[in-house]
């Protein structure tokens, strides 16, 4: 076999490059501003909630059977009829950039910053 070493210098460079990019992306996408949650089905926003102004917790059942719980500063998917339940595993979303996705139901919950348009934060 041609490839013998367990890890070469180029391997390490690639690994470090990927990890650094991940770190930069993490810093860029992470912020603690108050967030607005958009519930998007098939590319269309069906509901928006300003999470900082939620006084009382409430649940919202979407047409496709997904139930969302919204409380002050937080939103999470609490039930869904899909197979994988990956959307529930996304857990609680609280800061801009957080996402919960349910592909079988074509549903995405995305959090964006309340002040700026979402793209302003990542312009480079």
């Amino acid at each position: 076999m041609k490839l013998k070493k367990t890890i070469t210098r180029t391997d390490l460079l690639i690994l470090i490059a990927v990890l650094i990019t991940a770190g930069i992306m993490l810093i860029i996408t992470n912020s603690n501003e108050p967030a607005i949650a958009d519930i998007i089905i098939k590319g269309e926003t069906v509901h928006s909630a300003d999470l900082s102004s939620v006084k009382e917790d409430y649940t919202l059942t979407l047409d496709n059977g997904i139930t969302v719980e919204i409380s002050e500063g937080k939103i999470k998917i609490i039930s869904s009829d899909c197979n994988g339940k990956d959307c529930i595993k996304c857990g609680e979303l609280s800061s801009p950039g957080d996402m919960a996705v349910c592909v079988p139901n074509f549903t995405v919950i995305k959090l964006r910053g309340a002040e700026k348009a979402p793209m302003d934060a990542i312009t480079y």
């Binding site: 070493k5 391997d11 998007i40 197979n83 996304c90």
Partner: protein, 177 residues
């Protein structure tokens, strides 16, 4: 003297055998994940060890065959959308790894190639999920898919680096001699 394997059934048969192995690893992975769940539906992708081994030992076509088998399995177990996501990620990662295996020479070991193809696998999956849901998921998933690609790609690569010399001694790979 070694027999020459010229039968047309040689590659399809091996693809089937390794496809079954990949499914077995997927199943074990499901068992492990049900005991120790990872957030956001992250999966280690142990079956990619098989895909990469096949891509390297038999070539890209049987490896794509295994990606298709894996996708069919995912579609049966978790629905059509899971199958589409699995197929897009699988095919993109096989294409990347066969290209890397060709051009990398001795600069990269399986570890580097595996990390790159793991990242491409995740990008392909995100692309499919973005198209299916109709909204771009790249930004939110980027850190996660890069990190998991790096971690599990390294695991896959190191496993292959260690096991490959022994596996290549198996009698079934005579076609290369």
């Amino acid at each position: 003297m070694k027999k020459k394997r010229t039968s047309k059934a040689y590659f399809p048969a091996l693809t089937g055998i390794f496809g079954a192995l990949a499914l077995a690893l997927s199943f074990i992975e499901r068992l492990i994940l049900s005991a120790f769940p990872l957030p956001m539906g992250i999966k280690p992708g142990f079956s990619n060890i098989i895909v990469m081994f096949v891509c390297s030992a038999l070539g890209p076509l049987p490896a794509i065959g295994i990606a298709v088998i894996k996708a069919a399995f995912a579609a049966l177990l978790s629905g059509v959308s899971a199958g589409i996501i699995s197929l897009t990620g699988g095919v993109l990662s096989v294409l990347t790894m066969s290209l890397m295996l060709k051009i990398s020479k001795k600069r990269l070991s399986y570890t580097g190639i595996s990390v790159i193809s793991a990242v491409m696998h995740n990008l392909g999956q995100t692309l499919a999920a973005s198209l299916l849901t109709g909204s771009s998921l790249f930004l939110g998933y980027m850190p996660v898919l890069l990190l998991t690609g790096a971690v599990f790609g390294t695991v896959t690569g190191i496993t292959l680096n260690i096991t490959m010399p022994y596996l290549m001694k198996l009698n079934i790979f005579d076609h290369k001699k």
